[in-house]
């Protein structure tokens, strides 16, 4: 048996009102890539944070390479050889790449002066190890998300880590970058580095990992060699019931023929990314936008919603040329927008679930400027039930809820304005399998009731699953409109890869 790099036994951790981990065992063997999976709220993040010294467990013991440790700080666990890469890039945006790699462990000389030359060398060699050649003196925020993610990995490796914990490392990377990352992880594994890999994308888990640990509701479901599991059995273990009902369901395929056009875009340019975008959305149509990060999909949604102004081109609603100077004008015309970054542009973290739902509807819920609590409560309860939002109650603070339920709350917020067109930007990012299926289901149901949906997603499988039609973006243009038989992942990839040598 290989040596156990990390061994955790009987780990429990409670927060006020929640038992996040209950007697969980976990071990990581040398030179393996070990997946940690579970729905949101299953306790993965808490377990990781205990493992890396962010949290102190209430009970249980932790051994690193056989030695009993009582982690009190991240620094201490880094010293023990365990480092972490988080889903949201946790680096210092205004600091240079080399400083981000060196921070808190710089070599210092006389009077504590930092040896910048050494730090720079170390950063260069760490980046080179990842096959990246860049100016390490540039501030981090000059680089794309993918590069920043690579910097985070370079930092972890430069700490001479024996074990690297990766929490959803691929959520902001494109296919090519993911392939590179995986190649790198495998190389490092062959050099004896162990990995804990957390991902919602089960394909990646099957692709990369040898062992899986499944958590559910803060308890250990089990450890399994990957060869013992298939897709369905893994999902079933995660959700605790048979998965066959909710996965792989496809559209019923009945196309509703000619639709009445609701919204049209003609030759939209924004002077930066969009190079003339034209398309139309029918009533009750689910239209998907596929493409790489930065191909102009989000910009299209923002212009349509009045959050940004086009430099050229026109927007028509019901055939009438329309111009939205502010989102509020678009809202008045029954458009709704669920933005990409829930935490920044979506939820209002310190308000309750109820208030987060009601916020778009305050005039309707009030009488002479005073909001009726009863009406607000009734509205919230109605949507909590209709969208199956799981919360302690309408008064629960939204930032204490799971990602999937937050997303449903944002959907509820917009649905309560009775929109005719809803713009969804990455509606399932960072959301677990069960909630994802429910949200996709809901989208289909709403479209069936005549709501038009314009949806951006980097998970093409998801677009293929729900959309009536898919537009493929590249470099600020719509290159193809795929319907019916043409809607396959291969066609999307072929269009994006196209004539150019696009990465």
């Amino acid at each position: 048996m290989a040596e156990r790099v990390i061994e955790m036994q009987g780990i429990s951790k409670s927060f006020p009102g929640v038992r996040a981990l209950d007697q969980v065992d976990f071990y990581l063997e040398e030179g393996e890539i070990h997946a940690l999976v579970g729905e949101n709220g299953a306790g993965k993040s808490t377990l990781i944070k205990v493992m890396t010294g962010m949290y102190t467990a209430d009970a249980g013991e932790i051994r690193v390479a056989g030695e009993r440790v009582r982690p009190r700080s991240v620094f201490q666990m880094q010293e023990a050889g365990i480092s972490t890469i988080y889903q949201e890039i946790n680096l210092i945006p205004h600091m240079s790449v080399s400083e981000n790699i060196a921070l808190a462990r710089e070599k210092t000389g006389l009077f504590g002066r930092i040896d910048w030359r050494e730090a720079r060398e170390r950063a260069r060699s760490a980046m080179a190890r990842l096959g990246l050649d860049l100016d390490v003196d540039q501030p981090l925020n000059r680089f794309s998300t993918a590069v920043q993610q690579m910097v985070a990995i370079a930092r972890a490796l430069s700490l001479k880590a024996r074990a690297v914990v990766m929490d959803e490392p691929t959520s902001s990377l494109n296919e090519g970058e993911i392939t590179n990352l995986f190649r790198l992880i495998r190389d490092l594994r062959d050099q004896g580095v162990s990995f804990v890999f957390v991902s919602h994308k089960l394909r990646e888990v099957f692709d990369l990992c040898q062992t899986v640990t499944v958590l559910r509701d803060g308890r250990l479901v089990g450890h399994y060699p990957i060869t013992e599991l298939d897709h369905f059995s893994l999902v079933s273990k995660m959700i605790g019931r048979d998965a066959r009902g909710i996965l792989g369901r496809h559209r019923d395929g009945t196309d509703k023929g000619e639709r009445k056009r609701f919204c049209e875009l003609n030759g939209i340019r924004d002077g930066r990314r969009l190079q003339g975008v034209s398309f139309a959305i029918g009533e009750g149509e689910i239209l998907g936008l596929a493409g790489l990060l930065g191909s102009g999909r989000t910009e299209t949604l923002r212009i349509l919603f009045g959050a940004e102004q086009p430099e050229a081109g026109e927007i028509r609603l019901d055939g009438v040329v329309t111009r939205f100077n502010y989102p509020r004008e678009a809202i008045a015309r029954h458009l709704a927008f669920c933005p990409e970054d829930r935490k920044v542009e979506g939820i209002i973290p310190s308000l309750s679930l109820m208030d987060n739902i009601a916020i778009t509807n305050l005039p309707r819920l009030s009488w002479r400027g005073v909001v009726s609590r009863a009406k607000k409560l009734a509205l919230a309860e109605d949507y909590i039930q209709r969208l199956n939002i799981r919360a302690a109650g309408p008064r629960q603070r939204i930032n204490t809820m799971s990602g999937g339920n937050q997303q449903k709350a944002i959907l509820a917020r917009w649905l309560s304005t009775s929109p005719r067109l809803i713009l969804l930007d990455e509606p399932t990012r960072g959301i677990d399998v069960g909630a994802r299926a429910e949200i996709l289901d809901l989208i289909r149901r709403l479209a069936g009731e005549g709501l038009s949906v314009l949806m951006v997603s980097s998970e093409w499988g998801e677009l293929l699953e729900v959309c009536d039609r898919i537009l493929v973006y590249r470099d600020g243009r719509v290159l193809a409109s795929l319907v019916g038989e043409e809607m396959t992942e291969d066609r999307i990839i072929a269009t994006i890869a196209g004539e150019g040598r696009h990465a």
Binding site: S73, L91, I92, M95, E99, L103, A104, R142, R155
Partner: protein, 319 residues
């Protein structure tokens, strides 16, 4: 030197230099009095007390905090220095510096350990410190012990033709510059101000780093209080009133972002000079109503903030 040119490329310093140039230009164009060494020396001397505070304030603001108690700390330090001068001059210096350090530590602990919002914590200590200074002295100024001529030289004396307070100020600038750009604790102050959560996950001891920034500021307030007492020959319980706002203004004019993570003590140095020059020009001119001083400062502050925010916003748009 490459390092030096890099320093002047920094946004914060550039902003301050631009404003400073503008101000000097206006002075030369419209002022009755021309630049001369004597006058500039005076400007430096007059601004050195607020200047010391502003340098420390830069660190606190860069670290994502704020300290409203600096004026009160300085007053309490000033009073303490006067009392301690009855023992000896050295005692007054060392004791007052230690007092400043302790007061700063108290602020740091309130903010970092008890997790009180900096604005509130230091508003409370501001009132407490100021009240203590009143209570100790019955709001009377406390003369420095008559035998301590040497002590008062700290505020009045010269070394190689330069006023001592100005030397202390410039010396502190040099030390804090090196501290903030090339020591581990210095860099960690920037890290926690920029992204506290990330810094914690990267292994930075966030609480300790915050406490350090407040403690340094407290120590500088102690120094400032010593100079105040030495210059006037008496401890001033009502002194340094409102200095917190002047210090914050100097920091912001010097290009430091109130949101933390970005800033420079060199920028603050220029910010302090700008404020000092405004007051100096108005004093020398004699015809301009002295109340203009605050109006001009306010307008400059808006101008500085506006100049910094533009590039920052554009920077965000890049992918």
């Amino acid at each position: 030197m490459a390092r030096l040119s890099l320093l002047f490329r920094e946004r914060t310093v550039r902003t301050a230099l631009f404003l400073l140039a503008l101000l000097l230009f206006a002075w030369l164009m419209y002022g009755e009095v021309f630049l001369n060494l004597l006058n500039l020396r005076n400007v430096l001397r007059q601004t050195s007390m607020i200047g010391l505070i502003a340098l420390g304030m830069t660190l606190v603001i860069v670290g994502g905090g704020i300290d409203l108690s600096v004026g009160a700390m300085t007053a309490l330090a000033s009073v303490t220095a006067a009392y301690l001068s009855r023992e000896s001059g050295w005692m007054a210096i060392v004791g007052t510096i230690i007092l400043g350090l302790l007061l700063g530590l108290l602020n740091g602990v309130l903010v970092a350990v008890l997790r009180i919002v900096p604005f509130i914590a230091t508003l409370a200590t501001m009132m407490t410190f100021r009240g203590s200074a009143y209570l100790l002295t019955d709001i009377k100024s406390i003369p420095v012990a008559p035998g301590e001529k040497a002590f008062t030289q700290i505020g009045r004396g010269y070394l190689l033709g330069a006023p001592l307070p100005a030397l202390v100020f410039v010396g502190a600038l040099g030390i804090l510059y090196l501290f903030s750009v090339s020591t581990r604790p210095g860099r960690q102050i920037f890290a926690i101000g920029d992204n506290e959560e990330a810094a914690r996950m990267m292994g930075v001891n966030v609480a300790w780093t915050k406490i350090l920034s407040y403690a340094i500021l407290g120590l500088l307030c102690g120094l400032s209080g010593i100079i105040l007492t030495a210059r006037l020959g008496a401890g001033q319980p009502v002194g340094a009133e409102g200095w917190e706002m002047n210090a914050i203004a100097a920091v912001l004019i010097g290009g430091t972002l109130l949101s933390g993570g970005v800033g420079s003590v060199v920028g603050t140095f220029f910010g302090v000079l700008i404020l000092g020059l405004i007051s100096n020009i108005i004093n020398l001119n004699g015809e301009i109503n002295a109340f203009w001083q605050r109006i001009v400062t306010g307008v400059l502050l808006l101008g500085a903030v506006f100049m910094q925010w533009r590039p920052e916003r554009q920077g965000r748009e890049k992918l």
